[in-house]
Symmetry: C3
Subunit: 396 residues, 3 copies
């Protein structure tokens, strides 16, 4: 027995099974079959392998972005309430000073200077703040009105005809409209140097978005221009250009603020020259300007001082501005035999579809279907009756 | 020869190959076969195509999030050391004023006011700081103790019985416990307006999370409520509700701080009405409260002032609070013939599994296995002996 | 008719189709066939299923990172222009105080103290700023020079021989070189506690990166050490070690700043013990130091004060430093029957490749190719001539 087992185990290595095939010479089915095969092979080779680079193994990107804004703007105090004429530079208008993959530039302001902790009348635009007698205010004593600016004392301030609140006084005036001419509209001409270092760790490729720039002085003077062969790789962008390239109007957007996306796409084919591994920039406004309610982007921040007597004073800023979110995406592909085989393998699976569809035509549609069926199928009756089967005529 | 080549090249287009099949009529194998096929087809159609929407091409999301907190809290100076009673508003308790996809709200504080550069005794809780004579301190002169607050001068301060350090004086008192009643517990009632604009660039669909809200006044008064048909789309959340919906206790969490995630999921089926493309909110605490050591979230920041004589003074805040991380995920799917074909194709591949399993039953298990084997296989002896083979009886 | 339909519908369930096979006994083809099958099966089982864990369903990670830096540094005023000797602690050198998944530590400084809004001579390093007469400056009156610090008044300052600008005065001196000895080089010994809580929502697994640490005091004293069996799980890192583990020089990097990545990888196999689900740390410099132009990382920020008379004063800091970006990636896999079946299914598809390649050998290469072809193929002539076909000899 043992030698038999060994012998048959060995013989397994010298065997080969291949399906038996009916080879049909027919113009109708042949054409359908070849057409379907062509479509599938075209899809596999043309789309999955060549177009989608199915012969490449891809590596994902690791990226670092740092930004540096340059530019100064003169704020004319005669045009904006509550603020003196002053020059604003990067330490003033970029808040916070440093962000990860993002950048905020103030474009418009509502300023409430010299606020001190104290008691004063609530803003009359707050629902429920208006009063004529203390009775109106007494109900909520010790609490704040919804969206209110302070804690109610229960007293009605007869000067402002609003309930008195414990708060930072004076309270930001709810009547103040955001200036129609953005106070820092000159930010349109500011430039931002977006420095992007990337790495494809698997292929150990490092690149950065400073390309084709020869020296420091050229780097300092260049400005990004998508239609210039060299300056389309310049990493310095004019803020106004970024907004314009997204199809938006800078003045409009800077009045009530907004969110822009700078998308940097590194789509690298490492089978070609590394020189072709370059970034592509896309600009898009992320918050919609179309909506009538709640548009723009703003937030409040304060600068804190101390009076000579030690009292804390602050200047409250309601800052409108443009937030630039820098998103880096990308991948690097290089020829590799494993994904190629996988694509060919799954493509062969699809080829079976052509056979199935043609079988339907051959076995159910064509005039000679019975002949084909006879050739394709060998009928065998089940085991319950396998005695009788053996007596049947072999219909090949 | 040439015409022959052309003729056979053309004839290839009029050929069709289809496998020859043994068609077995057997209850046992038939049932197994149909059952396996049903399972596989059910998986393909039911799971891969219908449930997993395998007939759709999906686009990934581009998202912008901005947040705006509203609310004021009164800090009672009699309950907290070192700080006067004061009203805290959004410019005070949101630090930094603006973050990308995140928001931090102070809920508890340890304050060390009026620090100046100088020399004072180290905090006695720092290991190695206690001393009785200068000798203890002299060893590390010019260096700082691990986790120490300043550079050792080498002198032992006989008042505090700790080594003297050059530091911001007075030093934050290590004995100060974080207040049991969070000083800004009223932040529980603050609201945050999470404005989320999304875009599916491939399908050119823009949506935002303000839905079903008719006008500005309704938007201002609504509060998110997952069980209300309209307010489940309200983008204004009460901070206490966010924490409660994650199953956490606000007072507990606000005492030593923590990290919350607000997950916004846009899972859109563009084959249906665009109106059904709505956000789904999930709330989760990201840092675990279960651990005994190192719990919560806090950081130190300072406000800098100048004395009238020009000396720099600062107030150091150890701020405990809740960090809200807003994560937006999502995808949009629409019918497309390519993924549909791919799913059908790979499904057909799986169907071959049914045949392989049934073949095992038919050829090795059933009583009539020899009959089936005889019908299925046509044995051919290898080329080394193909002469003899031709003399063999054809067993069909 | 009706009963016939029912009967044939039922009979479909008792049928089974299996391809007819030519079973070839040949050493040459057998060996090729088995070799190819072995390669493919080896690939499927060894690579796709075992190595790539194709039997597992994976869940993606949700992560929260908070950081806390400890350490103080003494800045020696005699070595740096414009700044008095002072002790810098975490509230001074971490800017902004709190970031999401990132951390910036100042290592070097250029300070411009006591700036006030006013009129002064432009920095002479700005192109176009030098002048001898007002005429040079008059052309751009009311505008700023590119990369200039203020708005030109049109007057030439005869002391500095540069155009006068309205700006924060005095202007940051463009001649000031960044100190060769980084002013906060002692930051090399600072520690950062990177607290990372993760969750695999699908498997409801929560972990954090504090492992094998028994108590609070051990947690406070441990330092990350990749070669120590316990301290490789210590979440406290020395800043100098992070930079060294990325193969960089701390002094060099801290002079002009840079960007580091701390990559935390949670690759968890939930089929094994949960204890093996541990983080792996990788350190990498993201900005390249190799480039000669535009290296490092710096930004400007200011501290704002008020003079006793109420005038705003600021100290401008050009801060060079190291930005640590903390990236958390990871996945958790657990046995699941669906991905296992999918991998087996697509593997079976690949097995068809072995048959196709062997068929080429059998039908076109081997000496006995005609015999095999005869056995494999049953030629049928198309429907247009199926009459004649029936008269043909059945060549089996």
């Amino acid at each position: 027995m043992a030698p038999n087992v060994v012998r048959s185990a060995i013989s397994i290595f010298f065997e080969y099974d291949t399906p038996r095939i009916v080879h049909i010479k027919s113009k109708k089915v042949g054409v359908i079959n070849r057409f379907l095969q062509l479509v599938i092979i075209g899809y596999i080779i043309g789309y999955a392998i060549i177009f989608k680079k199915g012969y490449q193994k891809v590596d994902t990107i690791q990226s670092a972005v740092t930004t540096k804004v340059k530019g100064v703007a003169f704020l004319n105090g005669s045009e904006v309430p509550n603020i003196e004429s002053s020059l604003w530079d990067v330490a003033d208008y970029v808040v916070p000073a440093q962000e990860n993959n993002a950048l905020f530039v103030i474009t418009n302001l509502i300023v409430t200077p010299n606020q001190r902790q104290g008691i004063c009348g609530e803003d009359k635009n707050i629902p429920g703040a208006n009063c004529t007698t203390d009775a109106t205010c007494a109900l909520m004593t010790g609490k704040s009105l919804p969206t209110g600016n302070g804690i109610l004392t229960g007293v009605c301030n007869t000067t402002s005809n609003t309930c008195e609140v414990r708060s930072w006084c004076p309270i930001e005036n709810g009547d103040t409209k955001v200036p129609k001419n953005p106070v820092l509209l000159q930010s349109k001409d500011f430039t931002v140097f977006i420095k992007n270092n990337i790495e494809f760790p698997y292929y150990n490729i490092k690149r950065r978005n400073i390309l084709g720039i020869q020296n420091d002085s050229q780097l300092k003077t260049c400005r990004y221009n998508p239609s210039d062969p060299i300056y389309k790789f310049c990493p310095i962008f004019v803020l106004g250009d970024i907004v314009a390239m997204a199809g938006e109007d800078y003045k409009n957007m800077s009045q009530s603020g907004g969110v822009m996306q700078v998308l940097i796409n590194w789509d690298c084919n490492l089978d070609l020259s590394l020189e072709d591994c370059v970034p592509k920039y896309t600009f898009r406004r992320l918050d919609s300007a179309d909506f009538s309610i709640s548009k723009g982007f703003n937030f409040r921040y304060a600068k804190y001082y101390r009076d000579p007597d030690g009292t804390e004073v602050r200047t409250l800023y309601k800052a409108f501005g443009i937030k630039y979110i820098i998103t880096v995406i990308g991948q690097a592909g290089k020829f590799n035999v494993v994904p190629l085989l996988l694509n060919i393998g799954s493509g062969l699976g699809l080829l079976a579809m052509a056979t199935i569809l043609c079988d339907v035509v051959v076995l159910y549609v064509l005039k000679a279907k019975n002949v084909y069926r006879e050739k394709k199928y060998l009928n065998v009756v089940g085991d319950d009756a396998y005695k009788t089967m053996e007596n049947e005529t072999d219909n090949n």
